[in-house]
């Protein structure tokens, strides 16, 4: 394996997968009144941040990530996490706004990457946020079948589907097609059919499809746009 890093790998993707789903879980927990879901969500966020910590080149300097809250969404994500953990641990059911802020920061991290057409599209923000919420609600369904949670899950899955459709219309990426198709059929269609019959299965299907889509988005769809020549050099006689 070359020593040269050309893209983010599964360790960075894990931050979006675990962190996004964990934030969604924390955000959905008040619908069930179950504090344990918040702790599970925090554990997932911590695992995601731990995974991305393994990818950085200078791990002992990780605290430097906090130095640029003025323009960097990565710094803002770190601050959101720093606030989220104490609030989540001591006032679990009041942590939802911070979890949403964390999720929004993740979406903006991708959107700020001007070099990657599949990330810089505005539509990626709605996709990442709605995916996190659908995953979180889906995971919550494994532990609770509260009426409000069922409704929130259904709404999140439908919103995520339309966010995917909108994103796909703006960004054509072959790398995302398999995960996108699965998200549409299994993560949306099958999940909604299963919802009244087996809510935990519906939730797990939606969560797994969302995780796959984010893995593909971070590791497979991150092509640079390359170079372009608006004019060719004019040499010799015209």
């Amino acid at each position: 394996m070359s020593a040269l890093q050309r893209h983010w790998d599964a360790r960075a993707a894990a931050n979006f997968m675990l962190g996004g789903a964990g934030a969604g879980l924390v955000a959905c927990a008040p619908l069930t009144g179950n504090s344990a879901l918040v702790f599970a969500g925090l554990a997932m966020i911590a695992a995601g941040l731990g995974a991305v910590w393994l990818e950085i080149g200078r791990r002992l300097r990780a605290a430097h990530v906090l130095f640029n809250p003025f323009t960097s969404w990565m710094t803002r994500e770190a601050f959101a996490a720093l606030l989220l953990f104490p609030i989540g641990l001591f006032y679990p059911l009041f942590a939802a706004p911070l979890a949403l802020a964390f999720l929004y920061c993740q979406a903006r991290i991708l959107h700020a990457s001007k070099g990657i057409p599949a990330w810089r599209a505005r539509e990626v923000m709605a996709l990442v946020v709605s995916t996190g919420l659908a995953e979180g609600a889906g995971l919550a369904l494994v532990f609770s079948a509260d009426r409000w949670l069922l409704g929130a899950f259904g709404a999140a899955v439908v919103v995520r589907y339309f966010a995917w459709r909108r994103y796909r219309a703006a960004v054509r990426s072959e790398a995302l097609e398999p995960a996108g198709r699965t998200l549409a059929w299994l993560g949306t269609g099958a999940a909604l059919v299963l919802l009244p019959i087996a809510p935990p299965l519906a939730g797990l299907a939606a969560a797994a499809c969302g995780a796959w889509l984010k893995l593909a988005l971070v590791t497979r769809a991150s092509f640079k746009q390359g170079f372009s020549l608006p004019h060719l050099p004019v040499r010799g006689a015209r």
Partner: protein
């Protein structure tokens, strides 16, 4: 106010990669890392094919996306427009490398040498392992030259290594804010474009493609 800029005259570049070699020699970059590259592009369909050689690297943008996304403030912009990286601050998250539309940033996870084992003339820089690196416009040469009263872009000792080495006179360097400088004159006498200008990054690397109408 000084505003350093680089020019590549696409009519003159012959794709010899001497600038690439000079950059590697001057900056001691490891295998696979080329702060100055020359793309060899074929455009069109046979038999109407044209070929162009395009030097690329850090464009030292006016509004660099790499600087905005950097969480550690390691990437900064000097008053003269040169975008720098503080290797002691950088955490090596590679976010800047993904944000750069010009594929100008590199990060290596471990030290590698051109022929496997370290050759006597290879001097590894531990500070540049696990952090982002890129073209600096040979900022040390510029600063040292200015301190001696030399003029970057005119005096070789104060000019980036790639520009000095160019065998075809395709690469030029100078102060774009000085109307009498070499680069200002070239920009006035020729038609030029900047790469991916639609992204609003304001690259300060100009490509000449024809004389002014």
């Amino acid at each position: 106010m000084t505003r350093w800029a680089m020019i590549a005259d696409l009519r003159r570049c012959v794709g010899c990669q001497t600038c690439t070699a000079a950059c590697k020699q001057a900056n001691g970059t490891p295998p696979g890392v080329q702060w100055r590259r020359v793309l060899d592009l074929e455009v069109g369909e046979y038999p109407r094919v044209k070929r162009a050689f395009v030097p690329v690297g850090c464009m030292h943008c006016d509004d660099p996306p790499c600087m905005h996304v950097c969480p550690s403030t390691a990437t900064r912009k000097r008053a003269d427009g040169i975008v720098t990286i503080d290797y002691d601050l950088c955490i090596g998250c590679a976010y800047c490398a993904l944000a750069c539309p010009y594929e100008a940033r590199y990060k290596v996870d471990r030290q590698e040498f051109a022929f496997g084992a370290r050759a006597p003339n290879e001097t590894p820089d531990e500070k540049r392992v696990g952090v982002a690196t890129k073209c600096t416009f040979c900022v040390e040469r510029i600063d040292a030259g200015l301190a001696k009263g030399l003029k970057p872009g005119v005096d070789p000792e104060a000019t980036p290594a790639c520009v000095n080495s160019c065998i075809a006179g395709a690469l030029h360097f100078g102060d774009a804010d000085d109307p009498g400088s070499n680069v200002s004159e070239l920009l006035a006498e020729n038609q030029f474009f900047r790469m991916h200008e639609e992204l609003g990054t304001g690259p300060r690397f100009y490509y000449l493609w024809d004389k002014a109408p």
